[in-house]
């Protein structure tokens, strides 16, 4: 009798195991999500459905300030990291091969593997050594640094997938490098830019450790503030903020997914003239 090749999915218990993992991942999220709509001040005791805590959160001046900080930092870090990632990706993918290309890629993507606590402490020491304590600006710089690889990777992947053929065709059709960049490269790169930007934004918005080290009293971000609130125990407000963060991140991820469907089904932004 011929033996069938080993297939994981036909192993007894595989299904159960999968469901167990899913449960561990998602039940806590689901509980948090559901209880953020709980009217009771006791977070573990359900009374009835209400948006009350969202209203409370929305009216809390501290929370609003922190949310505002988080968004400013995330928007700025995203914009700067994308602005750096695009030319970096072009240099890596389209530039002449240069010595140390592999090293450059390694150095740029290093933050992905360096333990965050190390980066956080190093960043803190760096800012205190140069004596820079400019609240939000410190945060923006720190966030930009770890956002760059997240912005770079999708853009670089997209450039690689596109190949240089379209740009060559545009050069053949009398385009100057700058006009080719604007009319051909950027529009074709847009799915990569959008997913790089969304990734960078979400990573910045969710960051705790580095923000915790770098932020000062006036420049606290939302996750850091939530952590502070948690020391007094889990409150309904914490649930509500977490749900807001969760929904915002998921919505952005969905947006990125829509914009980065494989080529063919794509509708990149139209060029203007």
């Amino acid at each position: 009798m011929k033996k069938k090749p080993f297939a994981w999915q036909h192993n007894p218990g595989f299904g159960t195991f999968t469901w167990a993992v899913m449960a561990f991942l998602y039940i806590p999220l689901a509980v948090l999500f559901v209880y953020s709509f709980n009217a009771n001040r006791q977070v573990t005791v359900w009374s009835h459905f209400s948006f009350k805590w969202f209203a409370v959160v929305a009216q809390d001046a501290n929370i609003r300030l922190c949310a505002y900080n988080s968004i400013i930092v995330a928007v700025a870090a995203t914009a700067i990291s994308v602005a750096i990632a695009i030319p970096a990706a072009l240099a890596l993918e389209r530039g002449p091969g240069f010595k140390g290309r592999a090293l450059s890629v390694g150095l740029i993507t290093m933050p992905l593997v360096v333990p965050e606590i190390v980066t956080a402490i190093a960043t803190l020491i760096f800012f205190s050594t140069i004596g820079m304590a400019n609240g939000l600006l410190n945060l923006i710089i720190a966030h930009t640094v770890f956002c760059i690889p997240f912005a770079l990777l999708p853009i670089q992947a997209r450039l690689q997938a596109l190949g240089g053929g379209f740009e060559d065709a545009a050069r053949d059709l009398y385009g100057t490098e700058w006009r080719i960049f604007r009319r051909i490269t950027v529009p074709l790169l847009m799915p990569g830019i959008i997913s790089g930007a969304v990734l960078a934004f979400v990573i910045s918005l969710d960051d705790f450790l580095i923000s915790f080290m770098v932020s000062s009293s006036g420049s606290t971000t939302l996750p850091v503030y939530v952590y502070g609130m948690m020391r007094l125990g889990v409150t309904p407000e914490v649930n509500a903020i977490s749900t807001i963060l969760l929904v915002a991140s998921a919505a952005l991820a969905a947006l990125a997914f829509v914009f980065t469907r494989p080529p063919g089904s794509e509708a990149p932004a139209k060029t203007t003239n």
Partner: protein, 338 residues
């Protein structure tokens, strides 16, 4: 240049291209010299990897020669970037801009040349009708068939009125029927526009059918350049003879002479009775519709020469294993190198 003829469209003079370092790099082009006349349909023919694309990209301005010069209407262009040459290219995979419509694709080169809007509109309309794609102007390339994409690529490259149009294996992605259609379409476009076309192909039938003149390339070198008739009837080497059609290679000693000669299968006649040049045994007879193909084994010393003869019309009265005499007139044979 003693005569008063205008300078040729393109003059390629002793061009070498070495990828990598001079010492250890890959020599993709080796002392290539060619002259291409104005309004000519010129073809670069050769097997894959022989350097055709490299030479074409050099004419477009994407590669610079390691040595040698290229003149476009008398002007040395080797240092000029693509946008400074009135040369346009139809890329092998078309490279149509996927985010632009057909009309925007065709207009792209004109916009880059800073044509005025009304002139661009006029020219695009003219190009669309030239390639018969008027109804498709608002479509995106992904919504077109392969043949239609090809025509858009042609219109886009012809729109800026280049001095030379370069076509890199433009028909290889199309199926046979469409390929035949596009062959005559290309000929028509060249006649109507009066632009010099330089086509790259590895398909010898295509090259013979379409070109005014062609160059046969192999291993980075031009082996022979001439009209299809010249190259077909007088190939300069065994490689060319074999690559263009089919040739029997016969050592001279078999006929009591020196050297080596080549002869096309269709130039051989067979006879059962009268003694002629060679005698052999028929090994195989293949009926090919209009033609019949004979494979004949001719003893030559200790070897056996396999000779193919292709006869038109009714086959002579010979059978497999029967003996025949092979004959051909002097003027159809030619000498080749070893």
């Amino acid at each position: 240049m003693s005569d008063s003829k205008p300078s040729p469209c393109i003059e390629i003079h002793a061009v070498d291209k070495i990828f990598g370092s001079e010492a250890s790099g890959y020599r993709a082009l080796d002392n290539v010299s060619l002259t291409i006349k104005d309004k000519e349909f010129f073809t670069l023919l050769g097997p894959s990897g022989c350097g055709k694309t490299t030479l074409l990209r050099m004419l477009a301005g994407f590669e610079t020669p390691t040595r040698g010069d290229i003149y476009l209407h008398g002007r040395n262009v080797v240092e000029l970037p693509p946008r400074a040459r009135r040369v346009n290219m139809v890329f092998q995979n078309y490279a149509l801009f996927p985010h632009l419509t057909v009309a925007q694709n065709i207009a792209f080169g004109l916009e880059m040349l800073d044509w005025k809007k009304p002139q661009i509109g006029e020219r695009v309309a003219k190009m669309l009708s030239l390639v018969r794609l008027e109804e498709f102007s608002a479509r995106k390339p992904a919504q077109l068939s392969g043949g239609q994409q090809q025509r858009v690529a042609l219109a886009r490259a012809l729109a800026p009125q280049p001095e030379v149009l370069l076509l890199d294996e433009p028909l290889s992605a199309l199926d046979l029927k469409l390929r035949k259609e596009m062959q005559s379409e290309l000929k028509r476009l060249q006649r109507e526009t009066g632009i010099t076309f330089i086509l790259v192909t590895h398909d010898q039938e295509e090259a013979l059918a379409m070109s005014d003149r062609l160059a046969v390339m192999s291993g980075g070198r031009v082996l022979q350049a001439g009209t299809p008739e010249e190259i077909y009837s007088r190939p300069a080497s065994r490689f060319v003879a074999d690559f263009i059609g089919e040739a029997n290679i016969i050592p001279g000693e078999a006929l009591g002479r020196s050297g080596t000669l080549a002869i096309r299968p269709e130039h051989i006649t067979l006879g059962a009775g009268t003694p002629a040049r060679l005698r052999g045994a028929v090994r195989e007879i293949t009926f090919l519709g209009a033609d019949t193909l004979f494979e004949i084994a001719v003893p030559h010393g200790t070897e056996i020469l396999k000779i193919r003869a292709r006869l038109r019309g009714r086959a002579p009265d010979v059978e497999v294993d029967g003996h025949v005499w092979l004959h051909w007139p002097d003027e159809v044979e030619w000498g080749v190198d070893g």
